[in-house]
């Protein structure tokens, strides 16, 4: 298949893996930022192809995983209200809040619908003018443009029954929070290719310089991931620390300016709480004041971001690369995809789910 087979080609994979072995003279700790990369690495066994001593830490780039419990609880409260159609991407439905998940709300009679795009939710708002249609807008820079577009269109059409419950987060501030932590073990980053396709490479240039850490924009197929690792280790071995793009087929240096213009119009940068990582300044997006009529938090009087209650789940340590999933005492016992303690076990992109699915035995 075009754009797929050539990046999963076994011979190509072996060639880059051999090149990585040739240039590596000492142990290195790299972090892949995106959960999609984590799954590719574990599913295809890419980490097994690396020289001993090269360790991949799994980063915070899973939108489901970093959505704080407090916001999930807000989603559950809205979805339980009569007259509301609550729309969400599929993998948010099983994420536990304090006491239950969206599937349970649906089973109890709430009108919870799985959609594939915020524009599907917008269409529901048009079809049901007598109902409040709320879309759960989670994700990184990647999903922000489509979510922004839905609000922009709703405002233009005067669809006052459409709103977003926003829990958008931004990648560079989270990477900076990791780098600034005294516990940080990360020596090089594989930045998330899809995020950079929207926001570009430029936000990472000052980070690479300030913290003396190589940052390589990386894709998601086996050959993409290995190319990112190769460029990152090459920089480390040569003592360089810059931002490089190893995913040129999807990422331009300035990203997608049209998409970013839409995001800048609809959203404004705010502080956000990340599940397991706490409050990070300027790390999220909220609706700009001029779109407050489409803000579910305002419409339903929810108040500010409620923060993160204490939990038995160590996903915070996992999302910061300080622990691996199988080092958690609850992994595979008290915490499974059927009864997850935390979001990292739920999401398709969560590190715990990847380990459970591909590495359990």
């Amino acid at each position: 298949m075009k754009y797929l087979d050539e990046y999963r080609d076994a011979e190509g994979v072996r060639r880059i893996a051999a090149a990585i072995r040739r240039i590596t003279t000492q142990p290195w700790m790299l972090m892949e930022v995106c959960g999609g990369q984590t799954h590719a690495i574990i599913k295809f066994g890419i980490d097994e192809l690396l020289p001993p001593g090269v360790t991949l830490l799994h980063g915070p780039g899973c939108p489901v995983c970093v959505t704080p419990t407090g916001i999930i609880d807000q989603a559950l409260a809205i979805a339980s209200r009569p007259g509301v159609i609550f729309c969400s991407f599929g993998d948010m439905l099983r994420v536990p809040g304090t006491s239950r998940d969206l599937f349970s709300v649906k089973a109890a009679g709430g009108d919870v619908r799985m959609v594939y795009s915020p524009l599907d939710a917008l269409a529901l708002a048009r079809q049901h003018p007598d109902r409040e249609v709320v879309f759960f807008a989670v994700g990184f820079e990647t999903t922000a443009p489509a979510n922004a577009m839905s609000v922009f269109q709703a405002a233009r059409e005067g669809l006052t029954n459409f709103s977003l419950l926003v829990s958008h987060v931004l990648v560079p501030p989270a990477m900076e929070a990791l780098l600034a932590s005294p516990d940080c073990r990360v020596q090089g980053f594989l930045a998330a290719g899809h995020v950079c396709a929207i926001a570009g490479c430029e936000p990472y240039i000052p980070l690479a310089e300030k913290y003396r850490v190589p940052i390589v924009v990386t894709g998601f197929e086996p050959i993409d991931v290995l190319r990112g690792i190769h460029q990152c280790i090459l920089q480390l071995e040569e003592g360089r620390a810059t931002c490089e793009n190893a995913y040129e087929r999807a990422v331009r240096r300035d990203g997608n300016p049209e998409a970013m213009a839409m995001v800048d119009d609809v959203f404004t940068v705010i502080d956000r709480t990340w599940r397991g990582m706490g409050r990070i300044p300027h790390s999220g997006l909220g609706l700009a004041p001029k779109y407050a009529a489409h803000d579910a938090a305002v419409k339903f009087g929810l108040g500010p971001d409620p923060g993160e209650p204490p939990s038995a789940c160590i996903s915070g340590l996992i999302l910061q690369g300080l622990k691996k999933p199988h080092e958690c005492p609850a992994f595979g016992t008290r915490c499974t995809p059927e009864k997850p303690l935390g979001a990292t076990m739920v999401s398709n992109e969560g590190a715990c789910s990847a380990y459970y699915r591909y590495r359990k035995s």
């Binding site: 994700g139 995809p337 398709n348």
Partner: protein
């Protein structure tokens, strides 16, 4: 094309009276179901069908169908309800003969829809060589059903000697699949989500009994059959591995997945190995007979690519391992529920 025998001007939709046991229900059964399913169907006007079965052990199975949308590329709930039960009988090594058909209709279902579904069931039954001999109809209030639910049960007779099933699986067995996988699940998902695919993916829904009959008729040493419906090919082989306590390896590169199916799976973040099929089965067979079986499968499924996808190994732990194209090995396990499409 025939027209619906229930005058649409009088009854354009199903009403509660159509399930009320009175003349309207009798008319629905007589003019729509009996007229469609043929003269031998619902034949006795008694409370039970009376059947003459050839000698041999009888296989008996049942399945319910709740698919949404009712019509999708490559099939509909009617053909699915026939194929599902026919295939369950075929997987037991039985020749399917007779089916029952129970329908739960939601008040307000267009009569034309019911008529199309009934016609599709008749066509599917004819293609599979089975008869619908008894049935039931209930109507539920509007909003209490999803248009139409169908339950079919079926009986068949085992013509061939020898046990098949997990207990017959042996180390060295070849594992075959009769064609490209994951098309039914992706056809439904794409139709449901109105994904704007370049060309719609058509379901693989098809009767398997003729092909299975041909395999047995050729005297091939078949050890186990399992249709790869919900949970996909992965769940089918994992269940057989667990039940037999034999270890299996599957070769990822050998598992046929059509390009458009693979593209849709990638788009939604789904693993085709776990996506549902309605016309695919895995066959565990003596390795010396694998090539002959594949040749037979190719003649029965000319539009697709039957393939050998794996082997039963010596271990007795009941584990399934998948070998990736670059040699990495990973365990395959049952998923806890349905796969959920990802965010980005």
């Amino acid at each position: 094309m025939n027209t619906c025998p229930i005058p649409l001007a009088d009854y354009p939709v199903v009403t509660l009276a159509h399930g009320g046991g009175g003349s309207m229900m009798r008319r629905l059964i007589r003019d729509l179901f009996a007229a469609t399913f043929g003269p031998d169907s619902l034949q006795s006007h008694q409370d039970s069908a009376l059947l003459d079965l050839p000698p041999g052990r009888v296989a008996f199975t049942t399945d319910s169908f709740v698919v949404k949308p009712l019509f999708f590329p490559g099939g509909d709930i009617g053909s699915l309800a026939i194929h599902g039960t026919v295939n369950d009988l075929a997987m037991a090594g039985a020749t399917p003969l007779y089916l029952s058909c129970a329908m739960i209709l939601e008040e307000g279902l267009p009569m034309e829809t019911l008529w199309r579904v009934a016609q599709s069931m008749k066509q599917a039954a004819d293609a599979a060589g089975v008869q619908i001999v008894t049935g039931d109809t209930k109507v539920v209030d509007k909003g209490k059903g999803d248009g139409l639910f169908i339950t079919t049960s079926g009986v068949g007779v085992l013509e061939f000697e020898g046990e098949t099933g997990p207990g017959a699986i042996r180390p060295g067995d070849a594992i075959l699949v009769n064609g490209d996988i994951a098309r039914h699940g992706m056809a439904i998902l794409a139709a449901r989500a109105e994904l704007a695919l370049e060309s719609p993916i058509d379901s693989d829904s098809t009767p398997l009994n003729h092909a299975v009959h041909a395999l047995f008729d050729a005297g091939l040493d078949i050890h186990a059959l399992r249709d790869a419906t919900r949970g996909g090919v992965a769940s089918a082989v994992i269940e057989l591995a667990r039940d037999s306590r034999h270890d299996l390896t599957l070769t990822e590169a050998a598992i046929p997945v059509r390009e458009d199916t693979r593209g849709a799976c990638e788009l939604l973040g789904l693993d085709p190995l776990y996506v549902a099929n309605e016309g695919r089965f895995v066959c565990f067979i003596h390795p010396d007979h694998a090539e002959r079986a594949l040749d037979l499968l190719r003649t029965h499924f000319p539009d697709t690519t039957p393939a050998r996808i794996g082997t039963v190994t010596e271990g007795r732990t009941g584990r399934v391992t998948l070998t990736s194209p670059f040699g990495a090995r990973r365990p395959l396990d049952l998923l806890s529920g349905e796969q959920l499409p990802r965010i980005c």
